[in-house]
Symmetry: C2
Subunit: 369 residues, 2 copies
Amino acid sequence: MPDGRSPELPLSAIVAALPPSTPFVAPEVLERRHGRAIRLRLGANESAFGPSPRAVEVMREAARKVSWYGDPESHELREALAEAHGVGVGNILVGNGIDGLLGLIARVCVQPGVTVVTSVGTYPTFGYHVLGFGGTLRSVPYDHDRIDCDGLASMAREVQARLVYLANPDNPSGTWRSAGDILRLRDQMPEPCLLALDEAYADFAPADALPPIDKSDRRIVRVRTFSKAHGLAGARVGYLIAHTDWVSAMGKIRNQFEVSRLSQLAALASLHDSEHVRRVTAAVAEGRAEYEALAGELGLSTIPSTTNFVCIDVGGEERARTLLEALLQRGVFVRMPGAPPLNRCIRVTVGRREDRALFADEFRRVLSH
Amino acid sequence: MPDGRSPELPLSAIVAALPPSTPFVAPEVLERRHGRAIRLRLGANESAFGPSPRAVEVMREAARKVSWYGDPESHELREALAEAHGVGVGNILVGNGIDGLLGLIARVCVQPGVTVVTSVGTYPTFGYHVLGFGGTLRSVPYDHDRIDCDGLASMAREVQARLVYLANPDNPSGTWRSAGDILRLRDQMPEPCLLALDEAYADFAPADALPPIDKSDRRIVRVRTFSKAHGLAGARVGYLIAHTDWVSAMGKIRNQFEVSRLSQLAALASLHDSEHVRRVTAAVAEGRAEYEALAGELGLSTIPSTTNFVCIDVGGEERARTLLEALLQRGVFVRMPGAPPLNRCIRVTVGRREDRALFADEFRRVLSH
């Protein structure tokens, strides 16, 4: 037997050797575990401002037609995305959220013996996929709460990495690197090596954080999502912008029909509702400022964020954990980064005004205990 | 470089060696390819009878809440499914349709060097996944238009297969094997070997086709779907019933958040609307009889079906291909099986009464040319 460990199940060696793990504990899981409803859901960076009304409308209209499979090529959505980004339809792949696309990226690049470089404590689903395909993960610490681009490049060269991951703006810190930093990282990577650039929070980012899109560049694959500013997290639609060679490689193995029919329609409608995204990003900027003011008022600092969440520095991991637990006891779901130096913080998603007021009350209360 | 073939892209050896392939050409792709709208969609075994009105209602109600991720454990749906099947929640895994679940099954079992056994020309997505994880596929011919269970068992022993696949009732033939045949196959497989039993069409099957569910049996994993009788193909919800060891193994690698929030709610509502499934299966039985009568009237025979489609024997592959093309020219989308002996047929999904009348007209017309 290839794995030599499971006498009863014919498992692949990779799966047999993997420990059980889940990148995230969901709020529903916490509710079941603690037998207590969550009143305030500010832990998963979902959009408190909801989906575009146009997206809601098309889902309602199309609900009766859900007996039909969605277009496996998501063609209309890809056409619209290609136009929006000034690339060809063949440069766009639509998939099951960024999580699903990160799995595809890992699968096309990773096999046992392949080393992948990322940051300590960054978005854990990426590492989950790398390990799930038998890869080796090497991680570089954050540099003053920001992704250490030069550190990633050095490590990539040192270990002859074939894949490097970063999110920009970054999750869980909320910080960002300039396009220049990203492109210097790309240029310093060994050959061949792919930079997986996760731009889930691109809609909230300053323009300077986003390198120009170059469809002829085989060294970068970018992933974006309708889960954040567009408010369609539950619909599972993300997309990838890349050289056609990458889209073709992933096309050989992807699940053809994985994007729901309603979700394709909702994403397309939302893409055409740029006013909604503008409203959401403005409201989020207002909310971030309010969280910063709240922290200041409480004698705490925040990490500057260009996302829809803010990390509030509470001074240490143990305090962060205690506060998280105390908030959860009161029905408030937030998360904290998983590793130093960021785990001195709690990470709070920007809610609506009334959500923020409730959070402020609850946060004051748990801090005072 | 591991693959030795792609100087520019850091691809895994498996992906680098794979030829481009897609298991199915979708009707939307045909429309774009031919520049002609499809008027009658009877090729993908979707439910012409639509989703349950209760499922439509919950999707409409929940559309505004799609900014929240769905429960990654699909807990409520799994609880309801566990109750319906008399197993534990830990015996159920909900995933992105049967296609997604077949990918998971392939991934946990298959690696280069592993041989997998199936039937020539059966549901192609399974083979797509096996090749996509580097496995070797060995196929057994159909036996008088039915899956050859004894042939599968012999081949599995001969090649020391670790995974065997069949659909029961079968797609594309529509025929079925008895529970006794399935269990004999299971008992004749080598050790260790998993039987992946695809029961997409279980709702249309005679009770004798479905082996009793035994959650202590590590040799069978069963997959079912809301895409067929439930009419939720576009929502992408399927599930797997298996020993907890298999659910745990897949839990180590699955995409945690892949099932849309609305789709989970729709599936749960549909599960509770057993009257809808009864109506659909009765209507489908009526439609099958109508297709059989139509074929008889035209001097053709059909393959006995216990699914929501019927294979009409048109006498040979070339004629089947010509008829398919002629129907498509007239905006009628049907498919044909991909390999002998079934490729002497066209495969027609049961439509509503008006769809069937239109199909009958068009079929008569193309036959007479």
